[in-house]
Protein backbone atom coordinates (compact mmCIF):
# COMPACT_ATOMS: atom_id res chain seq x y z
CA UNK A 1 0.00 0.00 0.00
CA UNK A 2 1.24 3.40 -0.88
CA UNK A 3 3.27 5.14 1.80
CA UNK A 4 2.92 2.43 4.45
CA UNK A 5 6.22 1.89 6.30
CA UNK A 6 7.90 -1.39 5.55
CA UNK A 7 10.57 -3.44 7.24
CA UNK A 8 13.17 -2.00 4.89
CA UNK A 9 12.61 1.49 6.29
CA UNK A 10 12.41 0.40 9.92
CA UNK A 11 15.40 1.71 11.94
CA UNK A 12 17.84 -0.76 13.23
CA UNK A 13 18.93 -0.94 16.84
CA UNK A 14 22.26 0.78 17.67
CA UNK A 15 25.23 -1.44 17.04
CA UNK A 16 27.20 -2.57 20.08
CA UNK A 17 29.82 -0.11 21.18
CA UNK A 18 32.57 -2.69 21.42
CA UNK A 19 35.33 -2.17 18.93
CA UNK A 20 34.15 1.32 17.90
CA UNK A 21 35.57 4.67 18.87
CA UNK A 22 33.44 6.49 21.44
CA UNK A 23 32.53 9.41 19.08
CA UNK A 24 31.35 7.08 16.32
CA UNK A 25 29.21 5.13 18.76
CA UNK A 26 27.52 8.32 19.94
CA UNK A 27 26.82 9.31 16.34
CA UNK A 28 25.30 5.89 15.64
CA UNK A 29 23.11 6.18 18.71
CA UNK A 30 21.95 9.67 17.71
CA UNK A 31 21.16 8.50 14.17
CA UNK A 32 19.20 5.57 15.52
CA UNK A 33 17.26 7.84 17.85
CA UNK A 34 16.37 10.17 14.95
CA UNK A 35 15.35 7.20 12.85
CA UNK A 36 13.09 5.90 15.62
CA UNK A 37 11.48 9.31 15.98
CA UNK A 38 10.98 9.53 12.23
CA UNK A 39 9.45 6.07 12.22
CA UNK A 40 7.03 7.05 15.00
CA UNK A 41 6.08 10.15 13.05
CA UNK A 42 5.45 8.06 9.97
CA UNK A 43 3.30 5.63 11.92
CA UNK A 44 1.32 8.52 13.43
CA UNK A 45 0.84 10.05 9.99
CA UNK A 46 -0.34 6.72 8.61
CA UNK A 47 -2.77 6.31 11.50
CA UNK A 48 -4.11 9.82 10.96
CA UNK A 49 -4.42 9.14 7.25
CA UNK A 50 -6.31 5.90 7.78
CA UNK A 51 -8.71 7.61 10.20
CA UNK A 52 -9.25 10.46 7.74
CA UNK A 53 -10.14 8.00 4.98
CA UNK A 54 -12.03 5.41 7.00
CA UNK A 55 -14.13 7.75 9.19
CA UNK A 56 -16.34 9.06 6.36
CA UNK A 57 -16.61 5.58 4.89
CA UNK A 58 -17.73 4.23 8.26
CA UNK A 59 -20.28 7.02 8.54
CA UNK A 60 -21.64 6.26 5.06
CA UNK A 61 -21.88 2.54 5.77
CA UNK A 62 -23.60 3.24 9.09
CA UNK A 63 -26.21 5.43 7.40
CA UNK A 64 -26.74 2.76 4.73
CA UNK A 65 -27.16 0.07 7.38
CA UNK A 66 -29.76 2.18 9.21
CA UNK A 67 -31.68 2.79 5.96
CA UNK A 68 -31.69 -0.90 5.08
CA UNK A 69 -32.75 -2.01 8.56
CA UNK A 70 -35.59 0.53 8.71
CA UNK A 71 -36.71 -0.46 5.22
CA UNK A 72 -36.57 -4.16 6.04
CA UNK A 73 -38.63 -3.57 9.17
CA UNK A 74 -41.34 -1.53 7.48
CA UNK A 75 -41.42 -3.62 4.31
CA UNK A 76 -42.89 -6.49 6.32
CA UNK A 77 -46.06 -4.43 6.53
CA UNK A 78 -46.17 -4.07 2.78
CA UNK A 79 -45.49 -7.73 2.16
CA UNK A 80 -48.25 -8.59 4.60
CA UNK A 81 -50.58 -6.12 2.87
CA UNK A 82 -51.38 -4.62 6.23
CA UNK A 83 -52.66 -1.11 6.50
CA UNK A 84 -50.07 1.19 7.99
CA UNK A 85 -49.69 4.77 9.02
CA UNK A 86 -49.51 7.19 6.13
CA UNK A 87 -46.66 9.65 5.78
CA UNK A 88 -47.73 13.15 6.79
CA UNK A 89 -46.21 14.61 3.63
CA UNK A 90 -48.25 12.25 1.46
CA UNK A 91 -51.48 13.08 3.31
CA UNK A 92 -50.68 16.78 2.89
CA UNK A 93 -50.16 16.30 -0.85
CA UNK A 94 -53.39 14.31 -1.29
CA UNK A 95 -55.59 16.59 0.80
CA UNK A 96 -54.00 19.84 -0.33
CA UNK A 97 -53.84 19.73 -4.11
CA UNK A 98 -53.17 23.31 -5.30
CA UNK A 99 -55.99 25.13 -7.08
CA UNK A 100 -53.66 25.72 -10.02
CA UNK A 101 -53.25 21.96 -10.46
CA UNK A 102 -57.03 21.46 -10.55
CA UNK A 103 -57.35 24.24 -13.10
CA UNK A 104 -54.59 22.84 -15.28
CA UNK A 105 -56.04 19.33 -15.10
CA UNK A 106 -59.53 20.54 -16.08
CA UNK A 107 -62.04 17.94 -17.23
CA UNK A 108 -61.08 14.36 -18.16
CA UNK A 109 -60.13 13.81 -21.77
CA UNK A 110 -62.77 11.09 -21.97
CA UNK A 111 -66.14 11.04 -20.25
CA UNK A 112 -66.35 8.20 -17.73
CA UNK A 113 -69.13 5.73 -18.46
CA UNK A 114 -69.21 4.63 -14.83
CA UNK A 115 -71.13 7.74 -13.69
CA UNK A 116 -74.90 7.83 -14.08
CA UNK A 117 -77.59 10.26 -13.00
CA UNK A 118 -80.05 8.63 -10.58
CA UNK A 119 -83.01 10.82 -11.32
CA UNK A 120 -83.89 10.21 -7.68
CA UNK A 121 -84.11 12.41 -4.62
CA UNK A 122 -81.32 13.98 -2.67
CA UNK A 123 -79.30 11.92 -0.21
CA UNK A 124 -78.70 14.01 2.88
CA UNK A 125 -77.58 13.73 6.48
CA UNK A 126 -78.53 16.45 8.95
CA UNK A 127 -79.03 18.90 6.12
CA UNK A 128 -75.68 18.13 4.51
CA UNK A 129 -75.20 16.45 1.17
CA UNK A 130 -74.27 12.85 1.83
CA UNK A 131 -71.65 10.86 -0.04
CA UNK A 132 -71.79 7.09 0.38
CA UNK A 133 -68.90 4.90 -0.68
CA UNK A 134 -69.06 1.10 -0.55
CA UNK A 135 -65.94 -0.86 -1.39
CA UNK A 136 -63.36 -3.25 -0.01
CA UNK A 137 -59.66 -3.11 0.69
CA UNK A 138 -58.87 -6.00 -1.67
CA UNK A 139 -60.62 -4.38 -4.65
CA UNK A 140 -58.22 -2.69 -7.16
CA UNK A 141 -60.89 -0.44 -8.67
CA UNK A 142 -61.80 0.74 -5.16
CA UNK A 143 -58.08 1.43 -4.62
CA UNK A 144 -58.11 3.49 -7.79
CA UNK A 145 -61.26 5.47 -6.99
CA UNK A 146 -60.29 6.38 -3.43
CA UNK A 147 -57.59 8.76 -4.73
CA UNK A 148 -59.89 11.25 -6.53
CA UNK A 149 -62.61 10.78 -3.91
CA UNK A 150 -60.24 11.81 -1.11
CA UNK A 151 -58.88 14.65 -3.24
CA UNK A 152 -62.38 15.91 -4.12
CA UNK A 153 -63.79 15.66 -0.59
CA UNK A 154 -60.76 17.54 0.74
CA UNK A 155 -62.15 20.59 -1.06
CA UNK A 156 -65.27 20.47 1.15
CA UNK A 157 -63.78 19.38 4.47
CA UNK A 158 -60.92 17.59 6.17
CA UNK A 159 -59.75 14.03 6.77
CA UNK A 160 -58.34 12.36 9.84
CA UNK A 161 -56.99 8.86 10.25
CA UNK A 162 -56.38 7.96 6.61
CA UNK A 163 -54.00 5.01 6.43
CA UNK A 164 -52.06 3.38 3.63
CA UNK A 165 -53.57 0.26 2.17
CA UNK A 166 -53.09 -1.93 -0.90
CA UNK A 167 -55.43 -3.86 -3.11
CA UNK A 168 -55.09 -7.64 -3.07
CA UNK A 169 -52.04 -9.37 -4.51
CA UNK A 170 -51.88 -11.38 -7.71
CA UNK A 171 -53.86 -13.10 -9.25
CA UNK A 172 -56.22 -10.15 -8.62
CA UNK A 173 -55.96 -7.64 -11.46
CA UNK A 174 -53.82 -4.57 -10.79
CA UNK A 175 -52.35 -6.33 -7.74
CA UNK A 176 -51.01 -4.36 -4.78
CA UNK A 177 -52.31 -1.04 -6.04
CA UNK A 178 -51.30 1.65 -3.54
CA UNK A 179 -54.26 3.34 -1.91
CA UNK A 180 -55.80 4.30 1.42
CA UNK A 181 -58.54 2.71 3.49
CA UNK A 182 -61.65 4.47 4.73
CA UNK A 183 -61.85 1.97 7.60
CA UNK A 184 -60.98 3.97 10.70
CA UNK A 185 -60.85 7.29 8.87
CA UNK A 186 -63.12 10.21 9.72
CA UNK A 187 -64.24 13.10 7.58
CA UNK A 188 -65.48 16.48 8.80
CA UNK A 189 -67.19 19.12 6.67
CA UNK A 190 -69.72 21.95 6.89
CA UNK A 191 -71.23 20.89 3.58
CA UNK A 192 -70.83 17.15 3.15
CA UNK A 193 -71.41 14.05 5.25
CA UNK A 194 -69.33 11.06 4.19
CA UNK A 195 -69.82 7.37 4.89
CA UNK A 196 -67.06 5.03 3.78
CA UNK A 197 -67.76 1.32 4.09
CA UNK A 198 -64.95 -1.17 3.50
CA UNK A 199 -66.74 -4.50 3.53
CA UNK A 200 -63.58 -6.65 3.59
CA UNK A 201 -59.86 -6.52 4.16
CA UNK A 202 -57.24 -7.51 1.56
CA UNK A 203 -56.32 -10.71 3.43
CA UNK A 204 -57.89 -14.03 2.61
CA UNK A 205 -58.96 -16.50 5.27
CA UNK A 206 -60.14 -19.90 4.06
CA UNK A 207 -60.45 -18.60 0.53
CA UNK A 208 -62.49 -15.49 1.36
CA UNK A 209 -61.48 -11.96 2.19
CA UNK A 210 -61.90 -11.16 5.88
CA UNK A 211 -65.09 -9.19 6.59
CA UNK A 212 -64.49 -5.66 7.89
CA UNK A 213 -67.22 -2.98 8.02
CA UNK A 214 -70.91 -3.81 8.13
CA UNK A 215 -73.07 -2.16 5.47
CA UNK A 216 -76.13 -0.67 7.20
CA UNK A 217 -79.60 -1.70 6.09
CA UNK A 218 -80.47 1.74 4.68
CA UNK A 219 -77.22 2.01 2.78
CA UNK A 220 -77.64 -1.56 1.57
CA UNK A 221 -81.04 -0.58 0.17
CA UNK A 222 -79.52 2.41 -1.66
CA UNK A 223 -76.85 0.21 -3.15
CA UNK A 224 -79.38 -2.42 -4.18
CA UNK A 225 -81.46 0.25 -5.92
CA UNK A 226 -78.64 1.62 -8.08
CA UNK A 227 -76.25 -1.33 -8.11
CA UNK A 228 -78.42 -4.46 -8.08
CA UNK A 229 -75.44 -6.72 -8.80
CA UNK A 230 -73.64 -5.39 -5.74
CA UNK A 231 -70.44 -4.60 -7.62
CA UNK A 232 -67.85 -2.43 -5.93
CA UNK A 233 -66.79 0.27 -5.69
CA UNK A 234 -70.19 1.91 -5.47
CA UNK A 235 -70.35 5.63 -4.77
CA UNK A 236 -73.48 7.73 -4.30
CA UNK A 237 -72.83 11.47 -4.64
CA UNK A 238 -75.65 13.23 -2.82
CA UNK A 239 -78.33 10.99 -4.30
CA UNK A 240 -78.06 12.66 -7.72
CA UNK A 241 -75.18 10.71 -9.20
CA UNK A 242 -73.84 7.22 -8.66
CA UNK A 243 -70.55 5.70 -9.75
CA UNK A 244 -70.23 1.98 -10.43
CA UNK A 245 -66.51 1.33 -10.72
CA UNK A 246 -63.54 3.62 -11.11
CA UNK A 247 -63.69 6.88 -13.03
CA UNK A 248 -60.23 6.50 -14.57
CA UNK A 249 -57.87 3.76 -15.71
CA UNK A 250 -56.23 1.87 -12.78
CA UNK A 251 -53.12 1.22 -14.88
CA UNK A 252 -52.26 4.90 -14.50
CA UNK A 253 -51.32 4.39 -10.84
CA UNK A 254 -50.63 0.66 -10.76
CA UNK A 255 -47.09 -0.24 -9.66
CA UNK A 256 -46.49 3.16 -8.08
CA UNK A 257 -45.99 3.87 -4.41
CA UNK A 258 -48.22 6.15 -2.35
CA UNK A 259 -45.49 8.78 -2.24
CA UNK A 260 -44.94 8.54 -5.96
CA UNK A 261 -48.62 8.96 -6.83
CA UNK A 262 -49.09 11.74 -4.30
CA UNK A 263 -46.09 13.60 -5.69
CA UNK A 264 -47.78 13.82 -9.09
CA UNK A 265 -50.98 15.46 -7.82
CA UNK A 266 -49.58 18.96 -8.20
CA UNK A 267 -48.22 18.02 -11.64
CA UNK A 268 -51.19 17.77 -14.00
CA UNK A 269 -48.72 17.21 -16.83
CA UNK A 270 -48.14 13.67 -15.51
CA UNK A 271 -50.50 10.83 -16.40
CA UNK A 272 -51.53 10.09 -12.82
CA UNK A 273 -51.74 13.76 -11.82
CA UNK A 274 -53.98 14.53 -14.80
CA UNK A 275 -56.17 11.43 -14.28
CA UNK A 276 -56.71 11.89 -10.55
CA UNK A 277 -57.10 15.69 -10.53
CA UNK A 278 -59.51 15.72 -13.48
CA UNK A 279 -61.52 12.84 -11.98
CA UNK A 280 -61.61 14.81 -8.71
CA UNK A 281 -62.94 17.81 -10.65
CA UNK A 282 -65.82 15.66 -11.95
CA UNK A 283 -66.63 14.33 -8.47
CA UNK A 284 -66.42 17.87 -7.10
CA UNK A 285 -68.84 19.13 -9.76
CA UNK A 286 -71.28 16.34 -8.92
CA UNK A 287 -71.07 17.01 -5.18
CA UNK A 288 -71.48 20.78 -5.75
CA UNK A 289 -74.91 20.09 -7.22
CA UNK A 290 -75.94 18.70 -3.83
CA UNK A 291 -74.32 21.38 -1.67
CA UNK A 292 -76.17 24.23 -3.35
CA UNK A 293 -72.97 25.34 -5.01
CA UNK A 294 -71.08 25.66 -1.72
CA UNK A 295 -68.31 26.47 -1.18
CA UNK A 296 -68.62 29.05 -3.95
CA UNK A 297 -64.90 29.35 -4.63
CA UNK A 298 -64.71 25.62 -5.33
CA UNK A 299 -67.99 25.13 -7.15
CA UNK A 300 -67.57 28.11 -9.49
CA UNK A 301 -63.95 27.43 -10.37
CA UNK A 302 -63.52 27.05 -14.14
CA UNK A 303 -62.20 23.49 -13.88
CA UNK A 304 -65.18 22.32 -11.80
CA UNK A 305 -67.63 24.06 -14.13
CA UNK A 306 -65.93 22.47 -17.13
CA UNK A 307 -65.87 19.06 -15.46
CA UNK A 308 -69.56 19.42 -14.58
CA UNK A 309 -70.36 19.64 -18.29
CA UNK A 310 -69.01 16.12 -18.77
CA UNK A 311 -71.56 14.67 -16.34
CA UNK A 312 -74.18 12.64 -18.20
Amino acid sequence: MEGVSSSSTRPKRPAPLAGKPKGAALKDREAARRALAASARTRNNQRRRLVTVLAPIGAVLAVLAILVVVRATTSQDHAGKKTRAAAATVIAQVTGVPVAAFEAAGAPAKRSDTITATGGGALTDNGKARVLYVGAEYCPFCATERWPLIVALSRFGSWQGLKYSYSASSPEVFPDTSTFTFHGATYTSRYVSFTGVETATNRQVNGSYEPLDQLGADDGAIMKQYDPQGSIPFTDLGGRWVINGATYDPSVIHGRTHAEIAATLDKPGTASGKAIDSAANVLTAAICQSTGGQPVAVCTSPSVVAAGKTLP
Binding site: M1, E2, G3, R48, R49, T52, V53, P56, I57, V60, V63, L64, L67, V68, R71, S75, H78, G255, R256, T257, A259, E260, A263, T264, K267, T270
Partner: protein
Protein backbone atom coordinates in the same frame (compact mmCIF):
# COMPACT_ATOMS: atom_id res chain seq x y z
CA UNK B 1 10.09 7.09 -12.12
CA UNK B 2 10.49 6.16 -8.45
CA UNK B 3 8.60 3.36 -6.75
CA UNK B 4 6.76 5.92 -4.65
CA UNK B 5 5.63 7.87 -7.71
CA UNK B 6 4.48 4.66 -9.36
CA UNK B 7 2.31 3.81 -6.33
CA UNK B 8 0.81 7.29 -6.27
CA UNK B 9 0.04 6.99 -9.97
CA UNK B 10 -1.92 3.82 -9.33
CA UNK B 11 -4.21 5.64 -6.89
CA UNK B 12 -4.64 8.49 -9.34
CA UNK B 13 -5.39 6.02 -12.08
CA UNK B 14 -7.93 4.30 -9.83
CA UNK B 15 -9.79 7.58 -9.28
CA UNK B 16 -9.90 8.16 -13.02
CA UNK B 17 -11.15 4.64 -13.75
CA UNK B 18 -13.88 4.92 -11.09
CA UNK B 19 -15.04 8.29 -12.41
CA UNK B 20 -15.07 6.95 -15.97
CA UNK B 21 -17.04 3.83 -15.00
CA UNK B 22 -19.68 5.97 -13.29
CA UNK B 23 -19.66 8.34 -16.27
CA UNK B 24 -20.24 5.44 -18.66
CA UNK B 25 -23.18 4.09 -16.65
CA UNK B 26 -24.66 7.59 -16.34
CA UNK B 27 -24.42 8.10 -20.10
CA UNK B 28 -26.11 4.72 -20.66
CA UNK B 29 -28.94 5.65 -18.28
CA UNK B 30 -29.29 9.06 -19.95
CA UNK B 31 -29.53 7.54 -23.42
CA UNK B 32 -32.06 4.97 -22.20
CA UNK B 33 -34.05 7.72 -20.46
CA UNK B 34 -34.57 9.53 -23.75
CA UNK B 35 -34.56 6.61 -26.18
CA UNK B 36 -36.23 3.64 -24.53
CA UNK B 37 -36.87 4.09 -20.81
CA UNK B 38 -38.54 0.68 -20.48
CA UNK B 39 -35.76 -1.35 -22.07
CA UNK B 40 -33.01 -1.17 -19.44
CA UNK B 41 -30.87 -4.30 -19.22
CA UNK B 42 -31.85 -5.10 -15.65
CA UNK B 43 -33.77 -7.90 -13.91
CA UNK B 44 -37.30 -7.22 -12.67
CA UNK B 45 -37.69 -9.23 -9.49
CA UNK B 46 -39.90 -6.92 -7.48
CA UNK B 47 -37.35 -5.39 -5.13
CA UNK B 48 -34.92 -4.94 -8.03
CA UNK B 49 -36.51 -2.94 -10.80
CA UNK B 50 -34.40 -0.39 -12.68
CA UNK B 51 -37.24 0.82 -14.90
CA UNK B 52 -39.45 1.59 -11.92
CA UNK B 53 -36.69 3.75 -10.46
CA UNK B 54 -35.53 5.45 -13.65
CA UNK B 55 -39.06 6.32 -14.76
CA UNK B 56 -40.27 7.44 -11.33
CA UNK B 57 -41.14 10.99 -10.36
CA UNK B 58 -37.77 11.23 -8.63
CA UNK B 59 -35.83 10.42 -11.78
CA UNK B 60 -35.97 14.03 -12.95
CA UNK B 61 -35.20 17.45 -11.54
CA UNK B 62 -37.71 19.56 -13.40
CA UNK B 63 -37.29 18.55 -17.03
CA UNK B 64 -33.72 17.32 -16.57
CA UNK B 65 -33.15 13.59 -15.94
CA UNK B 66 -30.98 12.80 -12.92
CA UNK B 67 -28.92 10.49 -15.15
CA UNK B 68 -27.88 13.48 -17.26
CA UNK B 69 -26.93 15.47 -14.16
CA UNK B 70 -24.94 12.44 -13.02
CA UNK B 71 -23.16 12.25 -16.37
CA UNK B 72 -22.18 15.93 -16.15
CA UNK B 73 -20.98 15.47 -12.58
CA UNK B 74 -18.84 12.42 -13.41
CA UNK B 75 -17.47 14.13 -16.51
CA UNK B 76 -16.26 16.92 -14.23
CA UNK B 77 -14.85 14.41 -11.72
CA UNK B 78 -13.10 12.55 -14.54
CA UNK B 79 -11.47 15.78 -15.63
CA UNK B 80 -10.37 16.44 -12.05
CA UNK B 81 -8.90 12.96 -11.78
CA UNK B 82 -6.71 12.78 -14.87
CA UNK B 83 -3.01 12.54 -13.85
CA UNK B 84 -2.27 16.05 -15.15
CA UNK B 85 -5.03 17.50 -12.95
CA UNK B 86 -3.71 15.56 -9.95
CA UNK B 87 -0.46 17.53 -10.27
CA UNK B 88 -2.44 20.69 -9.44
CA UNK B 89 -2.62 20.38 -5.66
CA UNK B 90 -4.81 23.47 -5.46
CA UNK B 91 -7.60 21.29 -6.89
CA UNK B 92 -7.44 18.83 -3.98
CA UNK B 93 -10.12 20.66 -2.03
CA UNK B 94 -12.42 20.69 -5.09
CA UNK B 95 -11.81 16.97 -5.61
CA UNK B 96 -12.65 16.10 -1.99
CA UNK B 97 -15.74 18.31 -1.89
CA UNK B 98 -16.87 16.95 -5.25
CA UNK B 99 -16.40 13.32 -4.23
CA UNK B 100 -18.10 13.89 -0.86
CA UNK B 101 -20.99 15.62 -2.60
CA UNK B 102 -21.35 12.63 -4.89
CA UNK B 103 -21.57 10.25 -1.92
CA UNK B 104 -24.11 12.50 -0.15
CA UNK B 105 -26.23 12.53 -3.30
CA UNK B 106 -25.91 8.76 -3.57
CA UNK B 107 -27.17 8.37 0.01
CA UNK B 108 -30.17 10.58 -0.77
CA UNK B 109 -30.92 8.52 -3.88
CA UNK B 110 -30.66 5.26 -1.92
CA UNK B 111 -33.23 6.71 0.49
CA UNK B 112 -35.48 7.57 -2.48
CA UNK B 113 -35.11 4.04 -3.83
CA UNK B 114 -35.86 2.35 -0.51
CA UNK B 115 -38.61 4.57 0.84
CA UNK B 116 -40.21 6.44 -2.06
CA UNK B 117 -39.97 4.22 -5.12
CA UNK B 118 -39.60 0.97 -3.13
CA UNK B 119 -37.33 -0.59 -5.73
CA UNK B 120 -33.59 -0.85 -6.28
CA UNK B 121 -31.92 0.02 -9.59
CA UNK B 122 -28.80 -2.08 -10.14
CA UNK B 123 -27.27 0.37 -12.61
CA UNK B 124 -27.75 3.17 -10.11
CA UNK B 125 -26.13 0.99 -7.44
CA UNK B 126 -23.04 0.62 -9.63
CA UNK B 127 -22.80 4.41 -9.75
CA UNK B 128 -23.33 4.72 -5.99
CA UNK B 129 -20.61 2.16 -5.21
CA UNK B 130 -18.27 3.90 -7.66
CA UNK B 131 -18.98 7.22 -5.91
CA UNK B 132 -18.06 5.78 -2.52
CA UNK B 133 -14.92 4.13 -3.88
CA UNK B 134 -14.01 7.41 -5.59
CA UNK B 135 -14.27 9.26 -2.29
CA UNK B 136 -12.02 6.66 -0.62
CA UNK B 137 -9.42 6.90 -3.39
CA UNK B 138 -9.48 10.70 -3.49
CA UNK B 139 -9.09 10.97 0.29
CA UNK B 140 -6.28 8.39 0.24
CA UNK B 141 -4.43 10.26 -2.44
CA UNK B 142 -4.93 13.72 -0.96
CA UNK B 143 -3.91 12.69 2.55
CA UNK B 144 -0.84 10.97 1.13
CA UNK B 145 0.63 14.13 -0.34
CA UNK B 146 3.81 15.52 1.19
CA UNK B 147 2.99 18.68 3.15
CA UNK B 148 3.76 21.80 1.10
Amino acid sequence: MTASTARVSRVELTTLVLALVALGVSIYLTVEHYAAPNSLACPDTGAINCTKVTTSTWSEVGPVPLALLGALYFAAMSALCVPAAWRVTALDRVRVIGAAGGVATALYLVWVELFQVEAICLWCTVVHVASLALLVAVLWRVTGREPA
